[in-house]
């Protein structure tokens, strides 16, 4: 089944008439994602790849059933789009938009929390549950259906690592990007909890980077509560200097906090294997799963 989205997810696309929105709507439809409607204020009545467009989320929901939204609108309007989706009762919001001001993100997350909704992003490549639903901008050919869950703070690096996994025959259940901004809707800990509950997922890959302490918290969660499934981590930015934003708004070492070493140390203390190079992730995970199979004598359920 995977986490957060699956084959029964019905989604709307906010900002569907924009270049990005329109382009990726086609790719998501191609993947089989149920995109039931699009929203662009002022463009109601149009169609984009045969998806009807409405002026407002509320209007779209009067005609179509949906539970999820993916947002492509420009940064100055992204928070309002998320508020609109939340106000209309949607339960999962994927914000692809980059450059959303922190003050806006903080308010969106507060409202989502009040309403018990999940926000993925902003500044995320999105989420894909293999064979079920893609809500994002990731290329699909690198993925393979399987049982590894991936949570990542970085887009292309995820593709790099997913390619490695797929090549080694380690398919994926759900792969999602937390988002490259300082304030995003999901943390590694929350995703780990979901993956733990998900029957399809047999192992988890965490792809971290410098900035913040999401990795340290994940390590401490694993070490305190124990974790039923094997976890492998990779952390980018060992060579990043202090005080410089490395491409992502959130990838910055402030003073002495948020270094790759601190994150790697935390993972190792929690007995989470940390890969040295992206290509090592698949190798380590294959080894772990082989050992596990030997211990339990079972065959992997999916291949």
């Amino acid at each position: 089944m995977g986490i957060f989205v699956n084959a029964s997810t019905k989604a709307i696309v906010q900002g569907i008439t924009g270049t990005q929105g329109s382009f990726h709507t086609r790719l998501m439809l191609d993947y089989g994602t149920q995109i039931v409607a699009g929203v662009t204020p002022g463009k109601g009545g149009k169609k984009v790849h045969n998806v009807p467009v409405y002026d407002a989320v509320e209007e779209a929901l009067q005609k179509h059933e949906a539970d999820t939204s993916i947002i492509f609108v420009p940064a100055p309007f992204a928070a309002d789009a998320a508020f609109e989706a939340l106000e209309s009762g949607l339960k999962t919001i994927v914000i692809i938009t980059e450059h959303v001001p922190v003050k806006d993100a903080v308010q969106v997350m507060a409202r989502a929390k009040h309403q018990g909704a999940v926000v993925i992003g902003p500044n995320t490549p999105g989420i894909i549950t293999l064979g079920g639903c893609k809500l994002g901008i990731m290329p699909v050919h690198i993925f393979k259906r399987g049982s590894v869950g991936i949570a990542s703070r970085s887009g292309t690096l995820t593709y790099e690592i997913a390619t490695g996994l797929s090549t080694m025959g380690l398919g994926q259940s759900t792969c999602l990007g937390l988002g490259g901004d300082p304030v995003v809707g999901l943390s590694f800990v929350e995703v780990l909890k979901e993956f733990e509950k998900d029957e399809q997922t047999k192992a988890v890959v965490l792809i971290g980077e410098i900035g913040g302490d999401a990795e340290e918290r994940a390590a401490s969660f694993i070490s305190n509560k124990g974790y039923a499934k094997p976890v492998v981590a990779f952390v980018a930015g060992r060579t990043a200097p202090k005080g410089k934003r490395m491409g992502h708004a959130g990838a910055i070492i402030m003073g002495k906090a948020g270094t790759a070493q601190s994150k790697i140390d935390a993972f190792r203390e929690a007995n989470v294997s940390v890969a040295e190079k992206p290509s090592d992730v698949a190798k380590i995970l294959a080894e772990k799963l082989k050992r596990r199979k030997n211990i339990f004598g079972g065959a992997e359920s999916e291949r």
């Binding site: 450059h99 959303v100 292309t156 304030v183 302490d213």
Partner: protein, 382 residues
């Protein structure tokens, strides 16, 4: 976007937060005049956007106008951590009874703003956190309800103040929160905020970092990014800003270009792992056009320290054929005087390979293999 101390203080002062009497000067003569006007010993502070300015000699004290002239002359002809001093703030010396720390900043894991305070001000907050973590007070701000007077008083009280001093200090904290919100601040810091010997509070130093993503709605700062940081940016950094490329200068000799912040960071790490040293971080972002790619390559090649350029592209939205075209464009424009190592896979990979192979440029499949090769070339070349 970092503001200079004097700019931050101007804003604080506009919101009614007490700041020292003083003035910004760009010539020693002005420094003397300002010190004469202030009529008290002054402190002379280099306006540069680096941390640890004090330890690097950027803050001097002067007990007379003549001395102020001398000190500012010294600063105006110096570099602080490599940055030329272009202006100096001349301010009254405060009679300090206690130095406190207070800031409003973003708490990433709680997805909110947070007020941070300490009775051990005057040093970097990380040093306080390391030395006396128990002296750090944190109050999370509920985004729906805001930072309110009782939160501010709670902090002032924990800092050891009661009665009217507690209320005065709290009022300053509240004002700083308003500054932070109104300015879309990522960090709004008074360090130190000083308790004077008369028991008054004055923001002796201030830092204000505006959220770059919110600059579009900060009409006072919009468009000033380049100008303000101008003096400290290298020509490559300026070029990157203009082209919309995420660029960070590093100290090695292997130029790096990639798509995606995480991938580029991992590329740097791989170079280091194989014993090399990256010259820069450069992320062309998602879906880069051939133009952008060419601009990126130009930029990296313009860095004379670079011995080899490693281009690492994993095409998702980014199309390999566009990347290939951009590389050829750059080649046609400037010619390559330096070796290139290219790893190019993903969307439209076949077409991209065709373009480059026909131009006689070889392509690799594996990022690690490519990193190793780049390091090898750099060692040979270096």
């Amino acid at each position: 976007m970092k503001l200079f101390e004097y700019e931050a203080k101007e804003i604080l002062s506009k919101y009614g937060i007490p700041t020292p009497t003083g003035g910004l000067i760009t010539s020693p003569k002005q420094a003397r005049e300002t010190a004469e006007r202030i009529k008290s010993p002054v402190v002379v502070k280099a306006q540069v956007l680096v941390a640890g300015r004090g330890k690097a000699g950027g803050i001097l004290f002067a007990s007379s106008p003549a001395e102020a002239e001398l000190s500012s002359s010294k600063l105006l002809s110096s570099k602080i951590k490599g940055i030329k001093v272009q202006s100096v703030l001349v301010e009254e010396q405060l009679s300090i009874s206690k130095e406190l720390y207070f800031s409003i900043t973003v708490d990433r894991s709680n997805r909110s703003y947070v007020a941070i305070a300490s009775s051990e001000g005057g040093v970097e907050i990380e040093e306080i956190a390391a030395a006396t973590p128990e002296k750090i007070i944190k109050v999370l701000v509920d985004p729906l309800y805001g930072f309110r007077s009782y939160h501010a008083r709670q902090i002032a009280k924990k800092l050891g103040y009661v009665g009217s001093q507690m209320r005065e200090l709290a009022a300053i904290f509240l004002k700083l929160y308003r500054v932070a919100m109104d300015c879309d601040a990522e960090l709004c810091e008074m360090n130190p905020i000083v308790e004077t010997s008369e028991g008054k509070f004055v923001a002796a130093d201030a830092r204000l970092i505006i959220d770059d993503n919110a600059l579009y709605r900060q009409s006072n700062f919009h468009g000033r990014l380049t100008k303000i940081d101008g003096d400290k940016l290298t020509s490559q950094e300026l070029e990157a800003q203009k082209s919309g490329l995420a660029y960070v200068k590093l100290d090695g000799n292997i130029g790096v270009i990639g798509n995606g912040a995480g991938l580029v960071m991992a590329t740097l790490d791989a170079i280091k792992l194989y014993g090399g040293n990256p010259a820069n971080f450069l992320d062309v972002g998602g879906g880069a056009s051939s133009d952008k790619m060419a601009a990126a390559l130009n930029l990296v090649l313009s860095d004379h320290r670079v011995d080899v350029v490693f281009i690492n592209i994993l095409g998702g939205i980014t199309r390999c054929d566009e990347v290939a075209k951009g590389i050829l464009e750059a080649k046609n424009r400037i010619g390559f005087v330096k070796p290139l190592v290219i790893r190019l896979v993903g969307t439209n990979e076949r077409e991209g390979r065709r373009i480059l192979t026909e131009a006689g440029i070889p392509i690799l499949d594996s990022m690690e293999e490519a990193a190793e090769k780049a390091v090898g070339i750099a060692k040979v070349g270096g």
